[in-house]
């Protein structure tokens, strides 16, 4: 029963979490899987700081992230500091300044936590685990295809069976909008309606603006230009303006490359997808798993970003939201990832010295092993081993007597010498 007079003091602010061993093991597993793929494609990790000057950081923050950074005064410098709400601007700053003498392209990866303000809604994370890459200095379609192919490989590597990588191209939208010359407020509302795929609202806004028939048809098509590769053909028949046509050419080139990688089956297109409209300059993409409402990864091209740090260069990249990926794959990971220790080493009365001597040899042979130091019965030690996910209890008797290897759940046991145990590959 809740006693409303005595609200318990929360141990943690909303939107951040502790991860206990079972969940933490899954987070680490996913992180390793992603990093493995990134390393295989030649991306080298950089480590970024948890504090930045806000004026530096904000140069590279798009969308609403600007307003969502945790900011405060720095007593040392008198300047405004922030916890990064996104790692990409940090990588851009590093690449444009400290690494500017190095030849392009740069292939960099990162893994870390960022903080973002959220509205006071239950269940929204304020702390986000990001694992991502930036490819700086390449503007070719092959670079866009590389990002998409890598994101797909990351998804496969993390154990996702069924997923979709959804590709957009913000230049297509911009080409269509160029012809309309709307006020900035109306343009924003039109973009909002397209983003929600709300054709009714869109029609009403176009009526309000008095847009001519030809342009109207192009705009009204945007909320429905999603699906398989046939979307590109449908779009090509629809638009006349060069900017949108160039965007379609770019998509077609990237798709051809994905075909060559043999991964086009995972890809869908959505030309009405406008996320990151204010900083993306070309292809954008997001990864979705069925039954999970949010994207697990997102990325795209931002050729304007590096210039904000004084060193213009084309750039593209993507980032995984590790917690979204975890929640989408939680059950699938259940069997794969168990934070289990192989052996709990229990000493019978008088056998403590023997147990202490053989435990390091077990570890040297490749087993994970912890000493049960408490003065308790074998049954108590077994119950503990069962609860704490030890695979076996190793009972060490006095003298030269054989060791007993007990399975805590089935209570089956083997009797064997230390040498026999050390030879074993599998418990």
């Amino acid at each position: 029963m809740i006693n409303s007079n005595a609200l318990p003091e929360s141990a943690l602010p909303k939107g951040v979490r502790d991860f206990l061993p079972l969940k933490a093991a899954k987070v680490e597993y996913l992180q390793q899987q992603l990093q493995q793929v990134m390393a295989a494609w030649g991306f080298r990790p950089v480590i970024t700081p948890q504090l930045e000057f806000f004026d530096q950081l904000e140069k590279g923050l798009g969308g609403d992230l600007h307003a969502r950074a945790f900011r405060f005064d720095d007593r040392q410098s008198g300047r405004l500091l922030a916890f990064p709400p996104d790692i990409t601007p940090q990588i851009a700053r590093i690449a444009a300044t400290r690494m500017r003498e190095l030849p392009l392209p740069l292939r960099l990866s990162y893994s870390g936590k960022v903080l973002r303000h959220t509205e006071e809604q239950a269940g929204k994370n304020r702390e986000i685990f990001q694992v991502g890459v930036e490819l700086i200095g390449l503007g070719q379609p092959e670079a866009d295809a590389e990002m998409i192919a890598m994101a797909i490989e990351c998804l496969q590597g993390s154990g996702a069976k069924d997923f979709t990588l959804d590709i957009g191209q913000v230049e297509f939208f911009r080409g269509v909008m160029d012809g309309l010359s709307l006020s900035s407020d109306l343009a924003r509302r039109v973009a909002g309606a397209i983003g929600r795929k709300d054709s009714t609202e869109l029609r009403a806004l176009l009526d309000e603006a008095g847009v001519d028939e030809a342009a109207r048809e192009e705009v009204l098509a945007l909320p429905r230009l999603f699906g398989g590769r046939e979307v590109l053909e449908r779009a090509a028949k629809l638009v006349k303006n060069q900017r949108s046509q160039r965007a379609l050419d770019n998509l077609t080139q990237v798709l051809a490359l994905l075909d060559r990688h043999g991964i086009a089956e995972y890809v869908t297109f959505d030309l009405g997808e406008l996320r990151g409209l204010d900083y993306h300059t070309g292809i954008t993409f997001q990864g979705f798993l069925p039954g999970y409402g949010q994207a697990v990864c997102s990325g795209g091209r931002y050729d304007g970003l590096m210039a904000n740090y004084g060193n213009p260069a084309p750039a593209t990249g993507f980032t995984f939201d590790l917690l979204n990926l975890l929640f989408a794959l939680d059950r699938a990971l259940e069997d794969q990832v168990k934070p289990r220790t192989d052996l709990l080493v229990y000493a019978c009365e008088g056998a403590v010295l023997r147990a202490q001597q053989l435990t390091p040899r077990l570890r040297a042979a490749g087993f994970s092993a912890a000493r049960d130091m408490l003065d308790r019965s074998i049954d108590e030690a077994l119950a503990y081993a069962r609860l704490m996910n030890y695979r076996r209890l190793l009972v060490v008797p006095v003298g030269e007597a054989a060791l007993r290897l007990v399975n805590p759940s089935s209570e089956n046991e083997d009797s064997l010498t230390l040498e026999e145990l050390l030879q074993r590959k599998e418990l």
Binding site: R196, S199, F288, P290, Y292, G293, A295
Partner: protein, 220 residues
């Protein structure tokens, strides 16, 4: 299960109107017409599942992906501001979200002079945004029903509520001052579902657009 399509529909009249419209595009669920207290109905032949839930919970089920598709009033969408696609206006369930006040207050009232007014509503977010855009500071009183009562007993001077025919307002001596939004029921779609099941969902959207009428109608 991932090739099934799950619908979240609000219990009551909107559910009936929705199923009527869905029937026209071949989406049916015979199990639903049987009298039962079930909350989930299935049509295994067509791989369709339907959940009957509270209207205000529909966006939540769809946002979290427990349902791929939902039908819900635009009022709820405006209030909750969730990250969802809303591709089709179903045109039924028409009503208006309005600001209303007692008739005798209206006689000497000029909205240009409003400041620090008290407003009772089921829609605090929409109401706050509406008045903020007008630069009017309001004290919001969140109620869960019978909003018309508030001015009668002096809880607030004004209310923001849905009206369809206006009968309830009139009966309680209230008049409309302004319309905040015109409301109809919308088809909403989970973001990931639209991408991962684009073939089936794309067809449903295209078919619905063909059968929804041009005229909005009140569902009563």
């Amino acid at each position: 299960m991932s090739d099934w399509i799950t619908f979240a529909l609000p219990k009551g009249r909107i559910l009936e109107d929705s199923m009527e419209l869905f029937a026209q595009i071949g989406i049916t669920c015979p199990e639903m017409s049987e009298k039962s207290r079930k909350l989930v109905f299935e049509n295994p032949e067509l791989k369709l599942r339907f959940m009957a839930v509270r209207a205000t919970d529909v966006p939540t089920y769809v946002e979290y992906g427990c349902a791929d598709i939902g039908v819900v009033g635009k009022d709820t969408l405006l209030e909750q501001g969730k990250d969802l696609y809303e591709p089709v206006d179903m045109k039924f369930g028409y009503c208006r979200l309005v600001v209303a006040e007692p008739k005798d207050l209206q006689a000497e009232d000029n909205p240009l002079n409003w400041s620090n007014i008290r407003v009772a509503t089921k829609y605090p977010n929409v109401t706050e945004r509406y008045f903020a855009e007008k630069g009017i500071q309001v004290e919001l009183i969140k109620l869960y029903g019978s909003i018309e009562l508030a001015p009668l007993v002096g809880l607030s001077e004004r209310i923001v509520d849905l009206v369809s025919t206006g009968g309830t307002l009139k009966a309680n001596g209230m008049v409309e001052v302004d319309t905040i939004a015109e409301i109809t029921s919308r088809l909403i779609v989970n973001r990931a579902s639209l991408k991962t099941k684009h073939q089936r969902i794309g067809k449903i959207i295209a078919a619905l657009e063909k059968v929804v009428g041009d005229e909005v109608r009140i569902s009563e």
